[in-house]
Symmetry: D3
Subunit: 241 residues, 6 copies
């Protein structure tokens, strides 16, 4: 029995709100149970120095938590003058995952920055950031397509992400904070809409996990990600936006 009463393969209620703020090219509030993250996508002309003249674009991500998005206040990283190791690890994961959505050649020399800022944390902030970030990215790319700044839509894959774990011996989908803090294993799975894996990061917490657990976790992850991909398609198809 999960603390939340959910079935082992059941997502929390999830919601994408497009155009959540007004300035960004893409701005999405993603809610996954009590986890709430603002994902904005910013498009600028030009690329980082290491890509100058290579005829391709770039996507990068930054991640932050509001100091009191968590049970206890965490120090503001801007005040400490340093991003934590956890933050660095997460924003690199988000960036790698979302770069898999695009043909960077087709993006041309544009850089898109995905900012994921956690308003409220209740487990799964990094995978919510990726799922929400994809929607913000799609909206930002649309502004380029509409303005004819790219010749062809550079989006080649749809990207979704979810956390899974082994909780009291059972593979479960979409860990919330109470589960996350006591799960034996925690795995983040990022997939595309062709069913391929983009990234898998599984960590044993306390006890090693078996091949069997892995197969079980990947099965529930696949089911959950398919539901998320469907929700993304629906919200992006919404004419009212």
């Amino acid at each position: 029995m999960r603390p939340s009463g959910r079935a082992a393969d059941q997502l929390r209620p999830m919601k994408f709100t497009r155009n959540f703020t007004k300035h960004a090219e893409g701005s999405v509030l993603v809610e996954c149970g009590d986890t709430k993250v603002i994902c904005t996508a910013t498009v600028v002309k030009g690329v980082p120095r290491f890509l100058k003249g290579k005829g391709q674009g770039w996507i990068t991500a930054e991640y932050g938590m509001l100091p009191r998005s968590t049970h206890n206040r965490v120090d503001r990283e801007a005040a400490r003058g340093k991003q934590s190791g956890r933050t660095v690890e997460i924003q690199r994961l988000i960036g790698r995952s979302l770069r898999a959505a695009l043909d960077l050649k087709k993006l041309g020399e544009h850089t898109i920055t995905i900012d994921c800022d956690v308003l409220q944390a209740d487990g799964g902030t990094r995978t919510a950031s990726i799922s929400g970030g994809f929607v913000a990215l799609a909206d930002a790319v649309k502004t380029l397509v509409d303005a004819k700044k790219v010749k062809e839509n550079p989006i080649v894959s749809q990207i979704g992400a979810i956390s899974v774990g082994v909780y009291q011996g059972t593979p479960v989908l979409d860990l919330d904070y109470p589960e996350d803090s006591s799960a034996e294993t925690d795995m983040n799975v990022i997939m595309n809409d062709k069913g391929g894996f983009i990234e898998i990061q599984g960590t044993a917490e306390g006890e090693a996990f078996s091949d069997e657990h892995m197969v079980g976790m990947l099965a529930v992850a696949r089911k959950g990600i398919n539901e998320i991909l469907e929700m993304q398609r629906q919200v992006l198809a919404d004419d009212a936006e």
Copy 2:
């Protein structure tokens, strides 16, 4: 005629939403036109080193803008490793202003941190932070009173803040971004509910201002702050909270 069509002494629509996030002792979304700021108040036992053993508490504030809260993305300060001079200046102002709300002796050895994070900026983020921060502070203090961790309510003044300016020669209330960027003078006024000034910061932008302008700005500021103080009282009186 103001760009927004407002009268010279008219506030933008303003709204305080209490309990906006779930973890903080006080959490308020303050909206002032299109300016939106989350203000949270965090209470911890203990005081900074310079106050150890003095039998009093402390209030401090931190301020940040989400990178894409503005027209163009601003660098994430956590990534740059440094808060900007503007940020430092603002958070010192918020902290000083809200310390005037309390008798720090009555607060006992507790520290309250007010985090003001701008989701969307359209002028007046620092004064919105103070007005919203006061409501979050009041909620946080209530948790101390309710838990009998303080003997007496330490709040001695209600604090409200607004920006005023001289726009095309006329003193106007509550500058939005289009006005702010072209006003001749910009002044932030912070007052308490006894009509006293807590802080005044007026800056000539391009042209010096006269005694007459100052009198005019202070008059509209006083009117606006009285309306804000009334809104704070209403939202704090709300039983449903």
Copy 3:
């Protein structure tokens, strides 16, 4: 009765020494009672990146205290690797105030940096820095005019500054350290030679201040600044310099 025995509207003895050091384009030691600040002005060709190609110049200021300029030694900011919030706030104020002295268009693409370094502190270092910084700025501008690097003298206003406060209920001029540390209100006033306000920053320390106090403080500030402006004119007119 003030600790120093001065009248409520009486300045401390004040002195400007031009050409205090030999390398800078402008170098002034300003003494205001026991407060001593070296203000140097450095002129370089070129402007910061955000002004490139706009056909105008720039003035910026930096402020520092020698570690033992104060009663107790303060940490050397270079060793701590960070300027304090107070320093940042002060140097932004000095920069804004002195930019009001010039028509930046007429300055052409030059940058003038005003360095204000406190040798000895006894209250009022930021306003002394502005008053002394103006003299250093005038000398530096003169080198540009004399070398015909600007077509027209870009100085359009003379700038003076002083601190005022409410001490034991009375508005007083030019707070020294003993007054500053016990005043109820502290206000820095920056004005030009047309009697206009450039910046006003008033802060209640402990108790809010009234309209009446404000009128009183501005009156003594105006008197004091007029005396400072006259001293600046005299020292700048000195042929021997």
Copy 4:
């Protein structure tokens, strides 16, 4: 055909040299083909603040590359004043993996720091660091056991690690730099001597990977790690040490 001519499931020649330097409690040079990493383990009494009084020990890891361990010189992180995101990510992985080797309660209030410094890089530095780090850790723990500073040997699992990937469509073991830079997928696998997974990090580089690829990669990883665990046992059993 692999660039090195190795079979798909063949490790590079691998060697552990214990007591490589003389000061550390554990000091191991691990060589994996041309990849060479010094792993040292340092034991100190006491634990980080967040573990004070919990009656357990801690293991942490740091990772660095000598500036010219790579084809082109990389900036010295000490000179840049900042560890790169990649470094942070790697040292967190090493620390998590090696903590799985111990019962931290049995370690008592000791902290062991594993320093992994890359002398020469040719792919697989992070997994080599973990495999070599385990040997250094074992030696360091032995000093505690021999000195009777712990009651019971705290090592509960042996830890080995290897990278695998999909190279030209085939799952291959132990990527060297030429393979690593052109592999479609790169996965780091960390396992213990009971055949359980400690951590899996798989990243698609360019193309998503399938369930089938994953099964193939895990199979070769398991074979390679078993060989590494056997080598670790042999070197640790060596009486001459």
Copy 5:
């Protein structure tokens, strides 16, 4: 012929002004030709952590240049967030040299910080800092002796310093900036009043120097330092102080 017209073994005019500022336990303006440095000595109770409980005191030094103490403005180190390598090197030299003046056991658990801040630079700032720093140190120690906070005067040696060099083939004393920038060799010599060497740092600039040059440089250094030691004794003997 030297640019200044001085004889090869002639010092520039040198002057020590005690009590230059009012807050420090020792405050000396040292002038050596156009080089002007404020040296202050600050005494605090207690020692750095690495000396806790060893029953001895400590002396440390910090060095800084006002940004416009030089021909061209140098960046303010506090603003850059970092002391330069040159600064670090110099302040370590000053600290080592002045520690040789005292029996640190007799100093008891006090820390004396010598701050050397260059108002105007014209060569020889580091040796001027040491010579002036000694006088400030002596004054600071006197406050401890007078207050009976130390049982016995801890000063065991008088310390003086000067730069020498090889200029156009000839050993010369007390390089000023024009000589310093074209000398073949630059050597800083620190000695005590028993004629012993405390520190010697000689650097060939462009061409190696011979034993003969070294003997010549040390001879003029010894002469110059003897004169400086005599000046220190005179200024410290001055009753009026």
Copy 6:
């Protein structure tokens, strides 16, 4: 009697291993007793900004210690975000010394970076870095000569370095750690193959040193450096390289 039983003018066994790692243009492991340092030389096209367009090259050095190269672990400077004063001082010395080996004009617009990383420390790491760095530099310069990227061999001097000291009243050569930590004086001497001094840095530790000590120290230094220069010549002449 020295702790190691060596004669007063006897070097520790010293060894240079060229091509120690494979990527660098020059890579040398220098061993001096138990002190072991990797010196690599990296050549890049171009020069630092302050030399742009001056038609000359540059040599710079960086120094680091592996955290557990010493008896007790020292903090990793990359993790602390700052190089220590000692590190800065040492790398400036190495750079200055090795620049004396070359005619920088003949080097053309190339920059050579010498990285000296201490694997194991037992006294004399800075002089070992210089002696080993020279060999790495020579190898790196050879790649430029062989590739005809310089017209003429820019090496004009061979550089060797050693530490000497006064130990129990006697000048001794090549201090190891036990001597270094109890010597009365410590002096680093850098010379070229014409017998000229490049740099001398002598520091009294506890007691001032006399002219006589200096003469004695320089005599043993000269003997030791001549032996080192001979070893450098032999290893560089080795055909097998």
